[in-house]
């Protein structure tokens, strides 16, 4: 599809790769500043308890200790949507692992020793550890929920409850829809909390410059401008007083969106008269202090005709959001308009409740709730097909969103919206889908000891972002005619900078290697970007870069018009030159124009070429009380098809092949795009097969380490991952492109669950699908 472009659509290698393979790439993990202090944190040992007293006397007396802070010193509350989270626990602790006190000292050993000397007296409270306990509301995680500040109109905390936000979506009439159905079926599915597990743990360094309000933060964060914004709000600082610098990031996946260790680092640096302070999470803290992906219980009730046409659907999503709302209320909101999957549903009632519990809190995680909701919906679709005895492929095809359908928030899908039906048929043909195997085939597989099965699942996701989300780009031409580009988004390895450079090269008609993206975001220098989340950057950043490059061209042409004495509308550009459309020999090079065109006598015109481009998603709206509105910048549709083999005795699943198709509109860089798919599928397989937070009955996290909270290794890879990229262009996307960063993870667990049914005839309703769960289920089947 990309023959008409020269750089866009080509498989360029990532621009910063050489730094990464030589060990030269510097992460905050590698940073240190002269005199920098080190921090250790005292964590709550209880899931829910009152803090009766804290005694830091002995710790303070330890030589080398520079500052000790407790909640009493930090009367701030933070929060993106619900302002509910103290920097250090105040009055009470709400999850085991919550920071209670922090010590800054000359080295980690001293800080750790000091932490050991802090004495805290707690008075334990009953803990809320399940969705049901949260809903029952006997114990409140936030006893002050009625007083909390929050973004009104977007979130709906319920008084005197553990419901941080309750989103409702209503279209059509579900009662009528159920009445019109031949059958009504109900299912309940769930999945536990899991970890992002970036290889670089969270780390921030803050320096509060003494005698001024000025602060500098170096942090491993996805969203420097959000960090600045939230810090400014919490500490009452001017935005311009805060400088946030983000160098290379060792993985984020949503866990480094928002704000995490930065406020504590800043508070400590302030307490130490501006000496820089580093707060670095250990792997254990990464699990039990820093946020995870929220758990979910989904209940779905569907009315359907004999032929498989869905007439109504009612959904309850109950999110185990943990102790603080963070992003999980917004995850809950996104489920409100996307949680029913890419289906045309005329009658829908959907409730999405983000609940407070006394567990590690949830946040954004690649997929932003969609992996979770698709686990419910895409397993439910197969369960419906089984009950009706129709092919789950056909069932899906019959109900998918198509041109002219309305989404559940009332958006009309049009010819440029992308084609989920094509994604589904692409993966079905790739894995050779021909319906569920027969009971006899299944029995034969089980008898062989190795049962094979295939499965399908579709998906969709739009960026979950405020209606007024914006981004910007700045370009400057250098003396040699090369370009340096400043962007506000971070590149965590998704390849954003490489792709943006490709877009710029395409518009400017110049070689890619002459375009450099400044590899470090610095809120003092970089143009604004809301956050690097939500798979929206290729789209929004791409459009901003196009506009920025066009601005550069406009400036080049304005000066060239004078130099060449040709009207601007008769100028064209190519090969780093501006020339007359009819007489290309009349040209001037970009280089000659870069700093202003200089005549022989030294006289110069024009000036340094500095372009700017911005993009603000037009036409998006908030959702109304019935969840209706236009929240989606673009929908990226996709589908997975998988063939698996199950060792029926050990319960181990081997993925033989997984095909993943996405309608990306236009591939901007096939190499990086496929990289996103392969990496995302693998991460999805982690959620599918092994990842899970496990708690003791009193709410202690039992597996805060890689030892017992495993992520897949190279030996756990599928035999084959087949990325399939469809290109039905998005009219307003850059070159027609849509985002695909998160999507490869979504519905991977569903497709494995569906394939397991095909293989074994057993339906699983809870993730992860561990060898243990599978083997014991098979063994039960065998027992009379």
């Amino acid at each position: 599809m990309s023959d008409h472009y020269t750089v866009v659509g080509t498989a360029q290698t990532r621009s910063e790769a050489w730094q990464k393979v030589t060990g030269q790439a510097v992460y905050v993990h590698d940073f240190s500043l002269p005199g920098m202090l080190h921090t250790k944190i005292l964590h709550s040992p209880h899931a829910h308890a009152l803090i009766v007293a804290i005694d830091v006397t002995a710790a303070k007396a330890l030589p080398g200790v520079k500052a000790i802070l407790t909640g009493a010193d930090l009367p701030y509350l933070l929060g993106l949507y619900m302002v509910d989270k103290p920097i250090l626990a105040r009055h009470k602790v709400r999850y085991q692992g919550e920071p209670v006190a922090a010590v800054a000292a000359v080295d980690e050993v001293t800080a750790e020793r000091a932490v050991g000397l802090i004495k805290v007296t707690y008075s334990e409270l009953p803990a809320v550890l399940s969705v049901d306990a949260a809903l029952a509301g006997q114990t409140l995680v936030h006893e002050d929920i009625n007083e909390l500040e929050y973004i009104k109109g977007a979130f709906f905390p319920q008084p005197d409850s553990n419901i941080a936000s309750w989103h409702q979506t209503r279209r059509g009439d579900v009662q009528q829809g159920f009445a019109a159905a031949d059958f009504v079926f109900e299912d309940e599915l769930s999945l536990p909390q899991v970890a992002h597990a970036p290889l670089e743990t969270h780390v921030s360094i803050a320096q509060a410059h003494p005698a001024s309000n000025r602060v500098t933060i170096w942090t491993s964060a996805q969203s420097p401008f959000s960090v600045r914004n939230l810090l400014a709000k919490a500490f009452g600082l001017a935005r311009a007083d805060i400088k946030v610098v983000v160098p290379f990031i060792g993985g984020g996946f949503g866990g480094k969106a928002g704000i995490h260790l930065e406020p504590l680092a800043l508070a400590l640096s302030r307490a130490c008269n501006g000496i820089p302070v580093r707060v670095k999470a250990s792997r254990e803290e990464e699990y039990n202090q820093l946020p995870c992906r929220e758990g979910l219980r989904g209940r779905v009730k569907t009315g359907i005709t004999k032929g498989g046409k869905i007439t109504a659907m009612q959904l309850y999503f109950d999110w185990d959001g943990g102790a603080y709302a963070d992003y999980s209320v917004n995850v809950g909101r996104a489920a409100g308009y996307a949680g029913a999957g890419p289906y045309a549903l005329d009658n829908i009632e959907l409730h999405s409740r983000t609940l407070y519990t006394n567990k590690v809190f949830g946040t954004a995680y690649r997929g932003f709730g969609h992996l979770e909701t698709h686990w419910v919906i895409e397993r439910h679709m197969d369960l419906l097909a089984q009950r009706l005895q129709i092919d789950p492929y056909e069932l899906r095809q019959q109900n998918l969103l198509r041109e002219g359908s309305l989404t559940i928030s009332g958006e009309r899908i049009n010819a440029n919206s992308g084609r989920v039906d094509q994604c589904l048929s692409a993966v079905a043909s790739e894995i050779g889908w021909c319906g569920y195997r027969s009971a006899a085939e299944r029995a034969a597989g089980i008898a062989r000891g190795k049962a094979r099965g295939k499965g399908l699942a579709v998906l969709h996701k739009a960026p979950a972002m405020p209606a007024n989300t914006a981004t910007g780009a700045i370009m400057q031409l250098n003396e040699d005619g090369s370009v340096i580009m400043l962007l506000g988004a971070t590149d965590m390895g998704q390849g954003a900078y490489t792709v943006m450079a490709q877009i710029a090269a395409e518009i400017l008609a110049m070689p890619l290697d002459k375009i450099k993206v400044s590899g470090e975001v610095d809120t003092d220098h970089s143009p604004y970007d809301w956050q690097t989340v939500a798979s929206k950057y290729s789209f929004m950043g791409g459009n901003a870069v196009i506009r920025c490059a066009q601005d550069v061209l406009r400036q080049l042409k304005a000066t060239a018009a004078q130099v060449l004495r040709i009207p601007v509308d008769e100028l064209a550009h190519a090969n780093e030159r501006i020339y007359h459309v009819q007489h290309p020999e009349q040209f001037v090079t970009y280089q000659a124009l870069a700093m202003g065109y200089t005549y022989r006598n030294g006289n110069a015109i024009g000036g340094p070429i500095i372009g700017r481009g911005t993009y603000l998603a037009p036409g998006l709206t908030n959702l109304d009380d019935n969840g209706q509105g236009l929240p989606a910048l673009d929908w990226t549709y996709g589908a997975h098809g998988a063939e698996i083999e199950v060792d029926i005795e050990t319960g181990e699943v081997t993925v033989l092949k997984i095909a993943s198709a996405f309608d990306v509109g236009q591939v901007l860089n096939p190499k990086l795009c496929k990289g996103q798919v392969i990496g995302g599928v693998m991460q999805g397989l982690g959620s599918a097969l092994c990842e899970e937070y496990k708690y003791s009955p009193d709410g202690k996290l039992l597996n805060p380490s890689f030892t017992d909270n495993k992520i897949p290794t190279a030996q756990d890879t599928p035999r084959e991952i087949v990325p399939i990229l469809l290109e039905n262009p998005q009219a307003d996307g850059p070159f027609g492109a849509r985002g695909v960063g998160e999507h490869p993870m979504i519905s991977v667990p569903s497709v494995i669950g569906n394939a397991l049914y095909d293989a074994l005839g057993i339906n699983f309703y809870e993730l992860p699908l561990t060898p243990e769960k599978i083997a014991l289920a098979v063994a039960k089947l065998a027992r009379p």
Binding site: T650, E652, N703, K710, P712, T713, D716
Partner: protein, 311 residues
């Protein structure tokens, strides 16, 4: 940075045991360090003196003497076992276990002695060392003694070594000998069914189940061996507070006719002899299930191998 300790690397055994005899200070032996450094980091141990034993040549030797056996120095690293021809050929269950212990780079550091002395219920090398009827050689300033491996463990992370004692190595009697008897305790001394001289083990294997296919601690591990006299030996990891040799199961099987039916018998019986618990890694139910699966697979494969040998 780990907490304060002194580090010594003796190059003679005499010096090493002398260091260990120190009474006033807490002393810890450092072999590969893959358990010890984690414990130091987590402040589970805080020794004043750490003695690195990798400089002792007695502890780093791996020697096989035909007709006698294999002598493995305590500081021999796991990858050496996995790669050594003599181990692969004559002690295949041990080589198999060595190949699945932790990750490749960890196996370059982790040692046999560390695996034994760490006394984890899930120690992967221990079941094979048990089925090969390993005998530990222990030294101290007070002299030396030999301890059959099966008498070594007393509980989770507990064993019979005194604080001044050093594990020097483990000796495995040869699996190739004229009588088919296996020397150490528990052996029946029966002659080989085929009556051949100089026969070898029929085979040995180690089966391990983790939570995923990549490196993980054992949810359950089973070593099985069929010796030249067609006598079974079994031992398990992560199925009891200590790794366990399953004498009773062996007796049960060894008393039966040597047929494929033994596999099912073993699977039915194994759960009488193990005591797994439920923990964060697995439930006791799955451990029991897998013990049966593994012993069925192991016996069936060994019976097939034994049958082929006869044929």
């Amino acid at each position: 940075m780990l907490t304060n300790f002194e580090y010594a690397k003796p190059i003679t055994l005499t010096h090493a045991v002398q260091c260990l005899a120190e009474k006033e200070r807490e002393v810890k032996i450092l072999s590969g360090g893959t358990d010890l450094l984690v414990a130091l980091r987590r402040k589970q141990v805080q020794p004043a003196l750490v003695i690195d034993i990798k400089g002792l040549k007695e502890l780093t030797a791996l020697t096989y003497t035909p007709g006698q056996g294999l002598s493995i120095g305590a500081a021999v690293c796991v990858n050496r076992l996995a790669e050594a021809d003599v181990v692969r050929q004559y002690f295949p269950a041990l080589a198999a276990a060595a190949r699945v212990l932790a990750s490749y780079q960890l196996r370059n550091r982790a040692t046999v002695g560390g695996n034994i002395c760490n006394a984890s219920p899930a120690a992967d090398l221990v079941p094979p060392l048990l089925v090969y009827e390993g005998v530990l050689e222990v030294v101290s300033q007070r002299g030396s003694r030999r301890i059959p491996l099966q008498d070594f463990f007393t509980g989770v992370k507990q064993h019979v070594l005194e604080r001044d004692e050093l594990l020097q190595g483990v000796f495995l009697p040869d699996t190739t000998d004229a009588t088919g008897a296996t020397g150490a305790t528990g052996a029946t001394g029966a002659t080989s069914a085929t009556g051949m001289t100089n026969v070898t083990d029929v085979g040995g294997l180690y089966l391990k189940q983790g939570r995923l296919k990549g490196h993980d601690l054992s949810i359950i591990g089973l070593a099985a061996r069929l010796n030249a006299a067609k006598q079974f030996r079994f031992a398990v990891a992560a199925a009891a507070p200590t790794p366990l040799r399953l004498f009773a199961l062996e007796e049960l099987l060894n008393a039966q006719p040597f047929t494929p039916a033994l596999a099912e018998l073993a699977a039915q019986a194994i759960n009488l002899y193990i005591h797994p618990i439920s923990d964060v890694r697995a439930t006791a139910e799955y451990r029991r299930h897998m013990a049966a699966v593994f012993v069925r697979r192991a016996v069936s494969s060994l019976v097939t191998a034994g049958g082929k040998q006869d044929g």
